[in-house]
């Protein structure tokens, strides 16, 4: 699609998304929309490292949980509202990712993957056992969505789902724009070069370590921000957020949505937030089906499910062959 066509489509998408709370009155669906929005932010971050740089990091859910804990702890212990907590969570998570990355990003291969798993477990252990700080399994309760102070109007209460939706939507749009600018810039091109041919990149003087670090830190910061939003929305933070199930669902969202694109994982996040809820009754079968889809898609559908499906439905003129950017 030509550039202006894309811009129009993007603008239309934003308008449609903004109109959702007006059309959808059902609180439960709004709830799912909000949760989906949070996951969109988190998986966009995951896609940077998994899709664009091509490293399978399984620490991402841990960054999400760390963001939730940072924001939660600042709220419960220092009374920081989400407006401060969210950036703090993003920065803190980014810093942790920076430290972790400096140690492990030079490793390649399976050791990298396994070490990210071990890191996540270690973080869970800390969250569970450092009771004085995190209250362990008792968790951090009572988190709240803050009000927005607009000069001249006063405080706008954002706790209602219809209103908090806009906060999440705004954050998701910001995350999308940030990712898009990175991906479209020379940094993004270097990501792809490293993914496709690392020795060539190195020979051209492009440090795989440095660029992987960028993706890792930015991705983690996004996950941390998402975690903060999630924590304040749900109102409660506990070590369960470190469970491996969050990793698998995020991976499913990215891989099946279409890694290496931006719209893919975003759509994946929406679909795989709604799908489990719609399939509530069939609980075990649901996971068996997801697992099967994951295996099949990994084997046979490297572009994920979403894009091939959408393209199948779109008229031929609009189809795009370009899988490198969204």
């Amino acid at each position: 699609m030509p550039e202006t066509g894309r811009r129009l489509a993007a603008a239309a998408a934003v308008l449609v998304l903004a109109a959702v709370p007006l059309a959808v009155r059902d609180e439960y669906y709004l709830h799912l929309c909000i949760v989906a929005g949070v996951f969109v932010i988190a998986v966009l971050g995951l896609d940077l490292i998994v899709g664009y740089v091509g490293q399978l990091s399984l620490a991402h859910a841990a960054f999400f949980a760390l963001g939730a804990y940072t924001s939660g702890l600042l709220f419960v212990r220092a009374k920081w509202s989400m407006w401060l907590g969210l950036p703090a969570a993003a920065i803190a998570t980014g810093l942790i990712a920076f430290v972790l990355g400096s140690v492990i990003l030079r490793t390649r291969g399976h050791r990298f993957i396994i070490i990210t798993v071990v890191f996540a477990e270690l973080m869970k252990l800390v969250a569970t056992n450092w009771i004085d700080m995190t209250r362990g399994f008792m968790g951090l309760p009572g988190l709240q969505i803050p009000a927005l102070y607009v000069p001249g109007i006063g405080a706008i209460d954002l706790a209602a789902k219809g209103r908090f939706y806009y906060v999440v939507l705004a954050a998701a749009i910001v995350a999308f724009v940030v990712c898009r600018s990175i991906v479209r810039s020379s940094i993004g091109r270097k990501f792809i070069l490293i993914r496709e041919n690392e020795p060539l990149a190195e020979s051209l003087g492009i440090s795989a370590f440095r660029y992987a670090m960028i993706a890792f830190v930015v991705g983690a910061a996004l996950a941390g921000a998402a975690g903060s939003l999630y924590a304040h929305y749900v109102g409660f933070v506990s070590p369960d957020l470190f469970n491996f199930s969050y990793v698998t669902i995020m991976l499913i969202m990215v891989i099946l949505g279409g890694k290496g694109t931006l719209a893919g994982p975003a759509l994946g996040a929406v679909i795989f937030t709604f799908l489990p809820e719609l399939l509530r009754e069939a609980s075990h079968w649901r996971m068996i089906i997801f697992a099967t889809i994951l295996i099949v898609a990994t084997l046979f559908m490297p572009r994920g499910i979403v894009f091939p499906l959408v393209e199948h439905l779109l008229p031929a003129r609009w189809r795009t062959r370009d899988a490198g950017a969204a």
Binding site: T128, G136, G235, F236, F274, L275, S283
Partner: protein, 376 residues
């Protein structure tokens, strides 16, 4: 095409609630029907269903049938929140029961507070749940510290021991046990000689048991549920420790007794309910449970019995299926049931009920001592 089908399914689901008017009194239940504690969660759900069927056969409440809506919380806070949100916003329940694990209940009670729906837990014992000032949350079970106060003093004489060791789960439950029982045990002449912890994910406890054994206790007090309780019982006996075991958790349920086998003989359980309790309400309950669900009711069944009865009793006294009125009626609860009289204090903590020390002999947990939960 998949997208179209999904959309159709979603649309149908969205319209469904409109088709049902409020001809019934809707009560929502969030329990782990999948996940690590699914077995016990399903017992709770089946018990509530059985009791509600009985109530509906007798005319329901306020002249309407009770409609039970059950959602799976899987003992996962995020999922329990989703489940509660669904029950309140889509299914329009007027009351909530759940969510079994303390962290899930803690997450769920925020939903209850937000939507102003009364919420009872019959199982979650984390102390801080009633310390949050949430006016919609009620706890119908004694907390570990309350059990400790009630029973601690009885233990030295009941098990004929002086030196007590604690081997407990490393979470708020186990830790509060290790913190609250010692005082009353010491007042009765006992002595605490060791305290060791294990994690939720631990499957072998040989190190901790060795440490406890080294302190030479006359009795070991434990906090654990079925799987870990069975493994602990076996491994404790394997390492040559023969002293009596006193457990909070699932130490008297059929599933524990089966899993632990001979290692369960002689175990003491500190329970809010056990099927061998002798009173008319329990006799009827046990008979019906054995007939319909083919096993003996566990403490989670007892908890379910209490929770649903207290809620329905409040609905009756409220005179209307109105969440706010039900909440007010709950505060004035003075319920006589399965385990005696239950009232709520101003933090909505239940007190006044009887609790039991059961001793397992030949696979049957007989009640050997009782105590009453004092007002906190």
């Amino acid at each position: 095409m998949q997208a179209l089908k999904l959309f159709a399914a979603a649309a149908l689901l969205a319209l469904a609630p409109l088709a049902v008017a409020q001809e019934t009194v809707r009560i929502g239940v969030v329990q782990p029907t999948t996940g690590p504690v699914a077995y016990d969660g399903n017992i709770y759900v089946n018990t509530v269903k059985m009791i509600v069927d009985d109530m509906n056969a007798k005319g329901g409440v306020l002249g309407k049938k009770i409609e039970l809506l059950v959602e799976d919380g899987a003992c996962n806070p995020a999922q329990s929140v989703n489940a509660a949100e669904k029950l309140v916003t889509r299914d329009k329940v007027v009351a909530l029961l759940g969510a079994f694990c303390s962290t899930s209940t803690a997450a769920m009670m925020e939903v209850a507070k937000k939507h102003k729906v009364p919420h009872i837990t019959g199982i979650s014992t984390a102390a801080q749940l009633t310390e949050q000032g949430n006016p919609y949350f009620f706890r119908a079970v004694a907390t570990t510290p309350m059990l400790g106060n009630a029973f601690g003093g009885v233990l030295p004489a009941a098990v004929k021991a002086k030196r007590f060791a604690f081997l407990v789960l490393n979470d708020d439950w186990g830790r509060s046990m290790a913190a609250s029982y010692p005082k009353s045990i010491e007042n009765a002449g006992g002595q605490i000689v060791a305290t060791e912890f294990f994690q939720q994910s631990d499957l072998q406890f040989l190190s901790q048991i060795t440490k406890v054994k080294a302190a030479n206790p006359d009795a070991i007090v434990l906090a654990a549920n079925t799987q870990q309780a069975a493994a602990l019982s076996k491994q404790i006996r394997d390492l040559g420790v023969t002293v009596p075991l006193i457990g909070e958790g699932s130490w008297t349920s059929d599933s524990y007794l089966k899993l632990a086998g001979p290692a369960s003989d002689g175990v003491y359980g500190l329970v809010e309910y056990v099927y061998t309790i002798k009173n008319p309400i329990n006799d009827t309950f046990v008979k019906e449970f054995q007939a319909k669900l083919k096993e003996n009711p566990t403490k989670f069944a007892g908890a379910a019995h209490n929770a649903i009865h207290i809620m329905v009793d409040a609905i009756k006294r409220a005179g209307a299926a109105d969440p706010e009125k039900i909440r007010v009626a709950l505060e004035k609860t003075d319920y006589n049931g399965l385990v005696g009289n239950i009232k709520f204090d101003d933090k909505h903590q239940a007190y006044g009920q009887t609790v039991y020390l059961a001793h397992v002999k030949g696979g049957v947990p007989e009640v050997v001592a009782t105590a009453k939960i004092a007002k906190p």
